[in-house]
């Protein structure tokens, strides 16, 4: 018999598999090209970045990154000539453009804000979401379905639709431009997603595990920690990634509600353009650094995203 007859009818043919692989590769290329371009632009000099036709092969330079992290001022050639020799490689890089470094830029600070607000709100949303989802999944809650619908309904409009009331409320409460304010805001938006996603995951964990733990001598809370949480890990990881991506990338509220103190990276990165001409390499460098934590976090939790490990010890 031919090889084709030995495979299961549910398995695609070798040509089908190749075709599917081709589609995936094509899709990956299309989505990767802008990211690769941004990564490359961050390593170009400003003239290379705006060269036409675009340069694919170029001499890499860290100028974009230096510009991203520094504030500079343009000087006259006479002044430049009067300076002592540069003390560092980045000093030298900046002086080539007739500029001197006047201090660090605010990028590091904004980046830190993003980390605090992004991870803080993700933690809170997942924490609250897990508890609420467990409650909805395991207990008789009066008006359960209505409550769940109500929770979901908060996502039925774009959050920015309520920007004005939130802006006024935040101003009145003194939450404008604070880390706490932004954490609360992103948590509020994410918690509905977290409740719904996690309820699905927790519903799938059979009650018998907790009951077994109860009979084995544990309290409900201990059973939750020892038995439910470890099995909900997969769902928690997936939910956390979704929440983080939203909080990390959020632009509109960050622009509206933050300025000097709690500004996150998304509204800051476009500002870089204005500092000393169209500095695309610096913007690209900022964007590249901005993407890294999400990539890192996703890779870190990737193994938990692969499902199916926990199911099997309870026969359905």
């Amino acid at each position: 018999m031919s090889a084709a007859s030995t495979r299961s009818v549910l398995e695609p043919s070798p040509w089908g598999q190749r075709f599917a692989a081709l589609l995936v590769i094509l899709y990956a290329l299309i989505t990767m090209i802008p990211l690769v371009w941004i990564g490359l632009t961050g390593l170009k000099t400003p003239p290379d970045a705006i060269a036409y036709p675009p340069k694919v092969v170029f001499d890499p330079s860290l100028e974009g990154y230096v510009n991203l992290f520094t504030a500079r001022s343009r000087q006259t050639p006479e002044y430049m000539a009067s300076l002592p020799p540069p003390t560092s490689w980045y000093d030298e890089l900046v002086r080539k453009r007739n500029m001197v470094i006047t201090g660090p830029s605010r990028f590091a600070e904004r980046y830190m804000n993003s980390i605090i607000i992004g991870f803080g709100s993700t933690f809170l949303a997942v924490f609250l979401g897990t508890i609420a989802a467990y409650g909805f999944s395991r207990f008789k809650v009066p008006l359960k379905d209505d409550l769940l619908f109500f929770i979901l309904s908060t996502r039925m409009m774009p959050p920015i639709a309520v920007a004005v009331p939130i802006f006024l409320m935040y101003r009145a409460l003194g939450l404008s431009d604070t880390h706490l304010g932004m954490i609360i805001l992103y948590t509020m938006v994410n918690v509905s997603l977290a409740v719904w996603l996690l309820k699905g995951f927790i519903d799938e964990i059979p009650m018998e595990y907790e009951e077994a733990a109860l009979v084995d001598g544990y309290s409900r809370m201990q059973a939750f920690w020892k038995v439910v949480l470890p099995q909900a890990k997969t769902g928690i990881a997936a939910t956390a990634i979704f929440c983080l991506i939203f909080a990390w990338n959020e632009y509109a509220f960050a622009l509206l509600l933050t300025s000097g103190n709690a500004q996150t990276a998304p509204p800051f990165i476009p500002i870089i353009i204005g500092e000393g001409g169209l500095d695309w390499p610096a913007v690209a460098a900022g964007t590249t650094l901005f993407l890294l934590p999400i990539v890192f976090f996703t890779v870190l939790l990737r193994q938990h995203l692969l499902r199916g490990i926990t199911f099997g010890a309870v026969r359905k």
């Binding site: 059979p206 018998e208 595990y209 009951e211 077994a212 733990a213 109860l214 009979v215 084995d216 001598g217 544990y218 309290s219 201990q222 020892k226 038995v227 470890p230 099995q231 490990i309 926990t310 199911f311 099997g312 010890a313 309870v314 026969r315 359905k316």
Partner: protein
């Protein structure tokens, strides 16, 4: 060892879920070292009874005592009972060892690790799963999973074991093996067991006493022999025996003279005799089971099952005669309650238990 008198007592226990009464005024005592099996169809309240004993449900009325302590409203952790679930319910994120150690590490016990290890190994040896201790609990066969689940109950040495159809998800062969093993272990340990099943074979072979449940009520309780030979009602008679007891109107097969008020007569298939006179019958179906043969016949408009030896060859469509072994008939009144058979003409002949022709 466990407490001196490890018994489970239900006193007039009732549990309702909304408008449904799952357990209806149940009074039952499982004695120290006794193996009681609750038998009944789905929805009879078997599992609810177990869950009440475990503390996973709280009764609406009545009390429950375990080892002399009133635990009616005590949380599960405070009761000295172990539960073996139908679905094994091994913690999938733990190894076999960790699963078995889990109850001993609980806040209510907190054994030290050396003692836990000794105990887990001892029980693992008893259940022949020593080699699997470091396996993840998901990487086991069904039989092994169920052994671990039983092991997790055994390590604690509780006052009583509650088992909810622990063998039902296993294949027939494994179920037989584990059944024998379970009985051996129970006898070795002198354990008190309340066991739920809908499998009459399990009930007959494991039980010291069988309690038959129907619609939340305990219909009858007694030794397997009592339940089989002297069922309290049609319902109980139908629960035990395979093929099922033949239920015929009084007068069929020449069984006219039952006690007053009898409307139905029950005859076990093994008590039906073929080809030795009696009513005329026609064979409708023949099922060869190996050692025995089930023959379905029609006689005077009634369907009659007979269980005969393998040697008895019958063919579909064949005409034969059918009668019953004297003194074996069970009489039931209009409500399905059994009536004591008055001495009748049937009892004259000495009972001869010969199968088939």
């Amino acid at each position: 060892m466990g407490p001196a008198v490890a018994e489970i007592v239900f006193e007039n226990t009732t549990k309702r879920f909304g408008s449904i009464t799952a357990v209806d005024n149940l009074s039952l005592t499982v004695g120290d070292g006794e193996f009681v099996v609750l038998l009944g169809p789905t929805g009879a309240g078997k599992t609810t009874t177990l869950r009440l004993a475990a503390g996973l449900e709280v009764p609406n009325t009545g009390r429950i005592r375990v080892a002399g302590v009133d635990v009616t409203r005590a949380p599960p952790a405070e009761r000295d009972v172990a539960f073996v679930f139908q679905q094994y319910s091994l913690y999938p994120h733990y190894t076999v060892y960790e699963n078995m150690a889990f109850p001993l590490r609980s806040p209510s016990r907190r054994w030290d690790e050396a003692r836990i290890e000794a105990r887990v190994r001892e029980i693992a040896r008893l259940l022949r799963i020593e080699a699997k201790l470091s396996n993840l609990s998901t990487a086991l066969s069904g039989g092994e999973m169920q052994r671990v689940a039983i092991g997790r109950a055994l390590v604690r040495d509780p006052a009583a074991f509650l088992m909810d159809e622990p063998l039902s998800s296993l294949d027939a062969r494994l179920r037989e093996d584990l059944r024998v093993e379970l009985k051996r272990i129970q006898e070795d340990l002198g354990a008190t067991v309340l066991y739920v099943t809908h499998d009459q074979m399990e009930a007959m072979t494991l039980a010291d006493r069988i309690g038959v449940l129907a619609e939340g009520r305990l219909v009858q309780i007694g030794t397997p022999r009592q339940i089989y030979s002297a069922p309290a009602s049609v319902h109980v008679a139908m629960r035990l025996g395979s093929p099922r007891i033949n239920l015929l109107p009084v007068g069929a097969l020449g069984l006219a003279d039952g006690p007053a008020g009898a409307t139905t007569v029950g005859v076990r298939p093994e008590d039906v005799i073929l080809g030795r006179g009696g009513a005329v019958a026609r064979v409708i179906a023949v099922e060869h089971l190996g050692a025995e043969t089930v023959i379905l016949m029609e006689s005077e408009g009634n369907k009659v099952h007979a269980l005969v030896g393998a040697g008895a060859m019958r063919h579909v469509g064949e005409e034969t005669t059918v009668q019953m072994l004297p003194g074996t008939a069970l009489f039931f009144d209009r409500d399905g309650q059994r009536l004591d058979a008055a001495p009748t003409s049937d009892a004259k002949k000495p009972a001869e238990r010969a199968h088939g022709t």
